[in-house]
């Protein structure tokens, strides 16, 4: 059964609309003198929260070593197939030769990327991160396929908690005792 809410008849003051109009004017005046909420975008930038999923980027560890070992897990997991990896060898005489592999080129098509973050989640080397860049523009499609150099530029260096390959090297030097 429908509930009937009794309506009180309007008072004379209410029927003139004037008290309500004055109340409204007061409210809008308060708004007028209160500070704006507009973020004037190109000049002001929003605060990017922790864990924001922006553009995927490649990072280096604090020693400046590129972390990607071109295992291609991200390439396989990427739902829109935006990532393309060209695996390569690390030269024998390099200080990090024991890592063995690194990408010769690493391409992410930013027009395909859906910012799902699966690449970051799947990466065993913690080499790919979705960081705070959210605005990607370009004049051509090919311009928006970011190559390895560009991805490292965007990614920069992130702190490392493990130094996995450094530990491996030291362990190998000590004869693999754990």
């Amino acid at each position: 059964m429908a509930k009937v809410i009794p309506r009180k008849p309007l008072t004379l003051a209410e029927r003139t609309y004037l008290p309500q109009v004055l109340g409204g004017l007061k409210t809008t005046f308060k708004r007028m003198v209160s500070p704006n909420v507009t973020l004037e975008y190109p000049e002001e930038r929003p605060v990017i929260p922790e864990g924001y999923r922006g553009v995927p980027t490649l990072v280096k560890d604090p020693d400046g070593r590129e972390k990607c070992v071109s295992c291609q897990l991200c390439e396989f997991v990427c739902p829109p197939k935006a990532i393309k990896i060209f695996p390569g060898e690390i030269p024998e005489d390099a200080p990090t030769a024991h890592v063995e592999k690194a990408p010769r080129d690493f391409q992410i098509d930013m027009l395909r990327c859906i910012y799902c973050g699966l690449c970051q989640e799947v990466c065993p080397e913690e080499a790919i991160f979705l960081q705070e860049i959210f605005s990607v523009t370009g004049y051509t499609r090919s311009e928006l396929v970011y190559n390895k150099q560009k991805l490292y530029e965007l990614g920069g260096t992130l702190p490392d908690r493990h130094f996995k390959w450094e530990k491996k090297r030291q362990a190998a030097e000590r004869g693999h005792q754990h």
Binding site: L25, T28, N36, V37
Partner: protein, 366 residues
């Protein structure tokens, strides 16, 4: 003779140019005030090459959006002027002109200041000091509704037509209350025996003491509400009502023709505010019971400039009030507009008139 004519034309041009400038900047004020009320920033990017580059001043003016009206005006000039195939071409072209002409014509009898000349005679600053000032204004400003009806009819399309019909009903309803609400003012200033006048200058002179808003607040209120309805401003913007009738009477108009309607609306608003100030808020007297003559500032050019400035400031305050109300109050429903007009304002105005007639009759014969 020719020089006199030139002076008259010059004065008229000056007044019209100032009015048009005020219209342009009222549009800006509308946008700015609306954005402030909605906690936004409003137009703040348009800039001019040279002035905008002045170190501190340029960015400040840009931020205030002071160059925006020029961009808006240019937009009206350069947009495509569409002449729909289904319109009645003559009336369709005529309507915007008819909208603008009365709006600009009424300003000719609006006094905007006064000065004391070398002979000690007080002269009003006015284009045409008609003895029937207020009557002329009512007569001409109500012509503005023809433009709206004509536009609605000539567009030959349903929404403009509805807008035009609403406009005619609304104008007729509110003009009555408006006319009746100003009658007490003229009863007050016309004492028996003295030469009768309907001049707005006389009204302002009579307010050297108490302003009429203090003597007859109800008249002022009714007049204010009627002005809102007469100038098609929210909450009485029935003819336009963009949420129901697309754009109302100007739905089919574009480019410069729309611009003319736009300017006419704002010109109406400014002239309406000016008349409200003249009738009830003391015209160019800075405060109640305080005139420029009391301060010794009424003489010569200084007096003229000061009185004009005081009058302009008051008018712009009322314009601000118009804008403020527009962004506060939602539009009335059509039946509510009619009810307020016929069943509230009109009886109230008549009762108000009778009350003042009786009071003045007692006062004069006392």
């Amino acid at each position: 003779m020719a020089v006199d004519l030139l002076i008259v034309v010059g004065k008229a041009l000056a007044v019209v140019v100032v009015l048009m400038g005020l219209c342009a900047y009222t549009v800006l004020a509308e946008r700015k005030v609306s954005s402030w009320i909605q906690n936004r920033v409003g137009p703040n990017r348009t800039t001019l090459p040279v002035i905008g580059a002045i170190p501190v001043l340029g960015p400040m003016l840009t931020r205030l959006g002071l160059f925006q009206p020029m961009a808006d005006g240019l937009k009206f000039l350069f947009k495509e002027d569409i002449l729909p195939g289904h319109v009645n071409k003559v009336y369709y072209m005529l309507a915007p002109v008819i909208a603008l002409v009365p709006a600009l014509l009424t300003v000719s009898v609006v006094p905007f200041g006064q000065y004391v000349d070398a002979d000690g005679v007080t002269r009003p600053l006015i284009l045409a000091n008609l003895d029937i000032g207020i009557l002329f204004i009512f007569a001409i400003s109500s012509l503005g509704v023809y433009a709206i009806i004509l536009a609605g009819w000539a567009a030959n399309s349903k929404y403009p037509f509805l807008g035009g019909v609403r406009a005619s009903a609304q104008m007729i309803s509110y003009e009555l209350a408006m006319g009746l609400s100003v009658l007490p003012v003229f009863l007050w200033i016309n004492t028996p025996g003295a030469p009768a006048t309907l001049s707005l200058v006389a009204v302002v002179d009579a307010q050297a003491g108490a302003w009429f808003v203090l003597l007859m607040p109800l008249s002022a209120l009714i007049f204010l509400i009627s002005i809102f309805a007469e100038t098609n401003r929210a909450p009485f913007d029935m003819p336009e009502s963009e949420s129901e009738l697309v754009g109302g009477f100007h739905t089919e108009y574009s480019s410069f023709k729309f611009g003319l309607f736009f300017v006419a609306e704002y010109a109406h608003m400014i002239v309406g505010s000016a008349i409200l100030v003249l009738l009830f808020f003391g015209g160019w007297h800075p405060l109640p019971w305080l005139t420029l003559a009391d301060l010794g500032l009424a003489g010569g050019v200084l007096g003229g400039v000061l009185s004009t400035l005081v009058f302009l400031a008051k008018t712009l305050l009322v314009v601000f009030f118009f804008i403020w109300v527009r962004w506060t109050v939602p539009r009335f429903r059509y039946d509510q507009v009619m009810r307020i007009g016929w069943r509230m304002l009109l009886p109230l105005a008549i009762a108000n008139l009778i009350a003042y007639v009786l009071f003045l009759a007692w006062w004069v014969t006392r």
